[in-house]
């Protein structure tokens, strides 16, 4: 019986793969109120229970699957799962987020989170049902791709309605950026969580749950659902997402000239219309799909059935797919992009890092730093789609040149003496866009605790915030000027705490934290979320306190990184962004200015109350947040 009136299941499942022990620990009320859930639980557990200096692919690493207090409730878009561990890509805290149905199902199965430790001597999968869990043999599943794994598990357990997260051959082969795939669709993509799972010989976690997720105040909760629904009326962003999915951003990237195409050598793409959201919709879209309870429905379900290749269906593509397998390697054939995407998803490797690695290799090849014999005889020029597809498969199985590609751009840069061409922050490749024309984007990507991430913070607020709102929230009206620097450090810091709240609750950012007006972002992302939390859990919470939880979690992650020796020097964008100007597009000539960046970074640290020299939280800040370095 849960001690929580609602929301939380009240139990954490601890699994030690080394000695095969499984036990449920109660979720403490104070812990829940301090860290809320999701990324909060994982960050604190990793900081507390993992010492410094652990090899991320050793049995000592800890893999956490965390839901939020709103997961499993009927609130729209409370579908997100957080998977976290020490990252084999960055050596710091790593986490990946996935939509779909797995996180709610874990709640229905009676747990708020699963904490996996140790390493199994032989391949296993974890079966969790209604408060119970057991480890089962998985030798017969090892080697199977995601689709096959799901089919086999459903047959073995005798139920089509179970929910599964699994690794493919990518994770088994410890591809450094291998990912975890939920229900053959959603991908917890970045930071190499699949490699950690593979290093533990854990093939999959299968769930079935039929337990109630209680709601403390049902009437109040119904009010939140309806208020949320109302906020969607006339929301342009929602309409666009439903119509085109995240690929709608292709037009935006081309218009602003912020592609990181050809490994960030060009910001404009010839033939970009062929890989736009409209193009993919017209040619390959079967239907739009939604994660658990979602009213936005941004997921795509696509298929290639025209006989040009073996027919297949796949979730996606996303914008990042087009960025990673299209823009970066300069491929404008949408069929190639979709095939590459399907391969990455079915084999369980992060398409972003994979596409980046191949693009870096393409640049090195074109510059003569890699010869044909180094790259398995491929004519590895930009635009070579067939080479891309072949190399993706080689990455999965670590054969030939794929073995080096499987390490990611940072290690490629070290081994090939080509650091300059490795476009990453903390070891995680830069995605989303080229930030050279907007330094606040560069800051956002570079200070993100999990390595380059465009979703850790939300600087895009400066595209639509009104001057008076800027003054009120960030102390200066100039925050509404996209090009200005003043107040941006504070904006990024605040937005990081605010976005973190979504990751704590199990809510989808796209459904809750997107709007064309700043006031709506506050209304949905803070007011309604606080109301939802109180109505669901019956626990006391205010908007200020919630934002403070976001800040506390962010600081915990930073503490983790600082303990690993990642300080200020890790919070910088790649040298290319400073030293090379954008050659074309609307931002032609733009590059980051070192002085501007230093100033912005200092402003950011000041806003965060961190030591500007070390880039780490000060004792005063930690005390303020109820954190103490090294405390339990």
């Amino acid at each position: 019986m849960s001690m929580f009136p609602g929301g939380y299941a009240g139990k954490l499942l601890y699994v030690d793969l080394s000695d095969r022990s499984i036990r449920a620990k109660p979720l403490e009320r104070d812990f829940a109120l301090k860290y809320i859930g999701g990324r909060g639980f994982s960050a604190r557990i990793l900081y507390e229970e993992l010492g410094a200096g652990v090899d991320p692919l050793s049995p000592d690493n800890i893999l956490v699957f965390a839901t939020g207090p709103l997961s499993g409730t009927p609130l729209p878009s409370a579908s997100r799962l957080i998977v976290a561990a020490k990252s084999p890509m960055t050596g710091g805290i790593g986490d990946a987020s996935s939509g779909g149905y797995w996180a709610p199902e874990l709640k229905y199965a009676g747990f708020d989170a699963i904490v996996v430790k140790g390493r199994s001597a032989t391949p296993v999968y974890l079966w969790v049902e209604n408060g119970k869990a057991e480890l089962r043999r998985a030798e017969h599943l090892w080697g199977k791709r995601i689709d096959e794994t799901s089919k086999a598990l459903k047959e073995e357990i005798g139920d089509e309605d179970i929910h599964i997260c699994a690794i493919g051959p990518g994770g088994e082969n410890l591809v450094r950026y291998a990912c975890i795939v939920t229900d053959e669709e959603g991908v917890g993509g970045r930071t190499g969580m699949g490699a950690v799972m593979g290093s533990k010989n854990l093939k999959a976690i299968a769930l079935r749950g039929s337990l109630d997720v209680k709601i403390a105040d049902a009437k109040r909760f119904q009010g939140v659902i309806d208020a949320y629904r109302q906020t969607l009326e006339g929301e342009v962003w929602t309409e666009t997402l439903r119509r085109l999915g995240t690929p709608n951003l292709v037009t935006h990237r081309q218009k602003l000239g912020i592609w990181g195409a050809k490994n960030f050598q060009t910001a404009s793409i010839d033939g970009w219309e062929k890989i736009s959201g409209e193009a993919f919709r017209e040619k390959y879209l079967v239907k739009v799909m939604g994660c658990m309870g979602c009213m936005v429905r941004c997921r795509r379900f696509s298929a290639i059935l025209d006989g040009s290749c073996t027919p297949f269906y796949t979730k996606g593509p996303e914008y990042e797919t087009i960025n990673a397998l299209g823009a970066k390697p300069y491929i404008t054939d949408p069929a190639v992009i979709l095939q590459g995407h399907h391969l990455c998803d079915d084999c369980g490797i992060d398409e972003q890092s994979a596409g980046s690695a191949i693009s870096m290799a393409m640049e090195l090849y074109e510059r003569g730093m890699l010869k044909k014999e180094d790259v398995d005889g491929e004519d590895l020029v930009f635009g070579n789609g067939e080479a891309l597809l072949r190399l993706l498969e080689k990455i999965v199985y670590r054969t030939g040149f794929g073995n080096l590609l499987a390490e990611g751009t940072r290690i490629m840069g070290e081994r090939l003496h080509a650091d300059y061409y490795a476009i990453h922050v903390k070891g995680s490749e830069v995605d989303a866009s080229d930030p050279r024309s907007l330094v606040t984007r560069a800051l956002t990507y570079s200070v993100a605790t999990r390595g380059s991430c465009h979703l850790r913070g939300f600087p895009y607020i400066d595209e639509f915030i009104k001057p008076e709102e800027g003054l009120k929230y960030f102390g200066t009206a100039t925050v509404s000027d996209v090009k200005a620097l003043e107040g941006k450090g504070r904006l990024v810091a605040w937005s990081e705490d605010w976005i973190t709240v979504a990751n704590l609750m199990g809510l989808c950012i796209f459904a809750w934290y997107r709007s064309r007006t700043f006031s709506m972002l506050i209304k949905r992302g803070l007011e309604l979320v606080t109301e939802a939390y109180v109505a669901a859990t019956g626990l006391p919470m205010t908007q200020e306190n919630l934002l403070r939880c976001g800040e506390r979690v962010y600081n915990t992650e930073k503490l983790f990184n600082c303990r690993e020796g990642m300080g200020r020097e890790a919070d910088y964008p790649p040298a290319r962004f400073f030293d090379e100007a954008m050659p074309d597009g609307a931002g032609k000539g733009a590059h980051l200015d070192r002085g501007d960046y230093e100033r912005l970074l200092n402003d950011y640290y000041t806003a965060r109350g961190w030591d500007a020299a070390t880039g780490c939280p000060t004792p005063e800040k930690l005390k303020e947040l109820g954190l103490h370095e090294g405390d339990r």
């Binding site: 337990l211 997720v213 709601i215 239907k287 739009v288 799909m289 994660c291 269906y313």
Partner: protein, 165 residues
């Protein structure tokens, strides 16, 4: 009063006008009836068949309802002629005969209460219909649809005949 049920209407040519498997219908049904989050307690269920086929399955309100006919205690009943078949939970003994005979699998035993659970049209304003983001669920008159079907079928016969002539 006409016989009503919740029906699924999609347009295969429109990627946005098909069930997206968001399962908000399941969530809101269970919440409306039991005030919890638990799609397994919903009376409607989205069956995922793969290859983009997702079909919500819910009580068809059969004219000659096998569930009502087989019930040994009279727990399954209609309030009025042509009304939806309803459950009297206090009378139901949970024998699952109704579950066994329902051709659509639309009656189940509630996982918590153990008694028969089926769609009751939420008393007249089905919540699944109201909340479906794709708007593919509709409160419909079963007979109206079969009339439409008959007309479509008749038309197809005429076309076939014309092709032959």
């Amino acid at each position: 009063m006409t016989k009503q049920r919740v029906g699924y209407f999609e347009d295969r040519k429109d990627p946005e006008a098909q069930c997206s498997r968001c399962r908000l219908c399941e969530l809101i049904c269970a919440f409306h009836h039991h005030q919890v989050g638990n799609p397994r307690r919903a009376k409607i269920k989205v069956v995922a068949l793969g290859k983009g086929a997702d079909i919500p399955v819910v009580c068809l309100n059969c004219g000659d309802a096998p569930c009502m006919n087989v019930c040994p205690t009279g727990a399954l009943y209609r309030k009025e002629k042509d009304g939806m078949v309803l459950v009297r939970s206090d009378v139901c003994i949970g024998c699952a005969m109704c579950v066994s005979v329902c051709p659509a699998g639309a009656v189940t035993l509630d996982v918590v209460e153990g008694t028969a659970a089926k769609c009751d049209l939420c008393g007249g304003e089905p919540q699944c219909v109201a909340y479906c983001p794709a708007k593919v669920l509709r409160l419909t008159d079963a007979e109206e649809v079969s009339r439409k079907r008959m007309r479509t079928f008749a038309r197809s016969l005429v076309n076939a005949q014309e092709d032959r002539n």
